[in-house]
Symmetry: C2
Subunit: 282 residues, 2 copies
């Protein structure tokens, strides 16, 4: 497995990879959710490139950039074991040199939900993903459904800007009690970890109601809201039942829709979501 | 010469072109300035792609989108005669379908000069050029020095976003009396056409002063300002003596710099510029 930090070396190494090339961008501190993306890329592509880059421009001034967990040796051994061909590990200075001033922004759908609470976050995401796409030039790129709004923004950006790249969104990977895997789960203490299943429980309850015939989006949101409010350690940020593509809040669920929640457990912010309204999705 | 309007057909045709591929994006109504870009591409590349697209998102609400001159048959015969291999002629509906919401923006350097007078203009330019780059995937792209700020924005964007594309900026092509070729020159009546040489005369006078040892930027601006004010048909918008890369106004010319002017002649807006401070440029 080739580990490369400089862009010219990446471009040279990329030329030697047989296509189709699959790409898994990450911020490192990998878990089985990331590895499931690598596995999907391995299954669908001849070569697989992963990147590890804790992107500073997607963190707000009061967010956890400095303490975001990092463990490069462990990440590299996980990627090697999963069969990745090339890992790109750019530096912040290389990605954002002095004078950097170009931004890629998806407008409407990034203003809701996470975007409303994290101004500038998605601009940082879509800008760095554009840079990663231009550096790696993959045929397919793999993202987790866990970050549903990020996946929606990247699908929109890829289509709007005519990137010749297929975006593959893979199912959320969960602990046995339903907690979605996230690099931020390590911030939770024992009590918070137990309470953290409330996101999965709320989403499951709303999905069960949907499957039982409930189509009023506000009823589904109420089910999630009440379950989360009943968990004393959890502080609710939002519940949402929105159109899958535009993320506009729905009145009535008619088509593919996204149930999503954001919750604070102590100082740790967790998000989760289910897709409903399409039998092919979970 | 292959003329293609659909993106999937363009992608298929692109794959058959031997590299390196040169790309000349245009808004059509071609003149010898455009053809000089094609000639440069022919000289440096194995295949040459041109595009013709009057990009609506770079026109302001009070600008000349509707009446922008068009003559596709003439453009195609000029490109064919110049030896272009493939012409892409996308449609506004294909480029900006319903729901389009992604923009590429170069921040600081697009806020000055043209950007100050034409808000949103450069956002439209950099967004459409990103789309054209992703569609055509050239190895080199050719732009005219005539639109100096556009060239600076595209150089910055290409570098910031890691496009693996070399930006080649070619010298301005002029009429024998010095007027820079522009598709908008046809808007000028006879008297305005005669007065239009004032841009070249002002720039030439400032350049002569620079070559005579003048390094105070404000002195160079004053020379241009006074010459333009002496032309009764001309209405001055700006004169500038700025850093070549950042377009920040200079106090003292020490390095490569851009002299630029914008003038109204009747209803027609003309711009022009000279690069000074580097013997390799004109």
């Amino acid at each position: 497995m080739n580990v490369i930090t400089s862009l010219p070396e990446l471009r040279a190494a990329r030329k030697t990879l047989p296509g189709p090339v699959g790409f898994v961008p990450t911020m490192g501190y990998l878990h089985n959710g990331h590895i499931s993306l690598v596995n999907a890329a391995k299954a669908g592509c001849t070569s697989v490139v992963a990147s590890i880059f804790v992107n500073p421009t997607q963190f707000g001034p009061n967010e956890d950039l400095a303490k975001y967990p990092r463990d490069l040796p462990r990440d590299l051994s996980m990627l090697e074991a999963a069969g990745v061909d090339l890992v790109w590990t750019p530096t912040p200075e290389g990605m954002y040199p002095p004078g950097f001033q170009t931004w890629v922004e998806v407008q409407d759908l990034t203003r809701r939900l996470e975007g409303e609470l994290r101004p500038g976050h998605f601009r940082g995401v879509t800008t760095v993903v554009t840079k990663l796409f231009n550096a790696v030039r993959p045929d397919r790129a793999y993202f987790g459904q866990k970050d549903a709004q990020q996946a929606a923004a990247i699908r929109r950006m890829t289509s709007d800007l005519d990137f010749p790249i297929e975006i593959v969104v893979c199912p959320t990977i969960r602990e046995t009690d339903g907690l979605a895997l996230s690099s931020r789960n390590i911030y939770l203490n024992l009590d918070e970890r137990k309470a953290a299943t409330v996101l999965f429980r709320a989403l499951s309850a709303a999905k069960t109601a949907y499957e039982g015939g409930e189509r009023e989006a506000e009823s589904l949101r109420r089910i999630m809201r009440e379950l989360i409010k009943a968990e004393s350690l959890a502080s609710l940020q939002y519940v949402s039942c929105a159109d899958y593509d535009t993320l506009e809040e729905l009145v009535t669920v008619r088509d593919k829709a996204l149930l999503s929640v954001a919750v604070h457990l102590g100082k740790t912010r967790l998000i989760d979501n289910f897709v409903i309204g399409n039998p092919a999705d979970k």
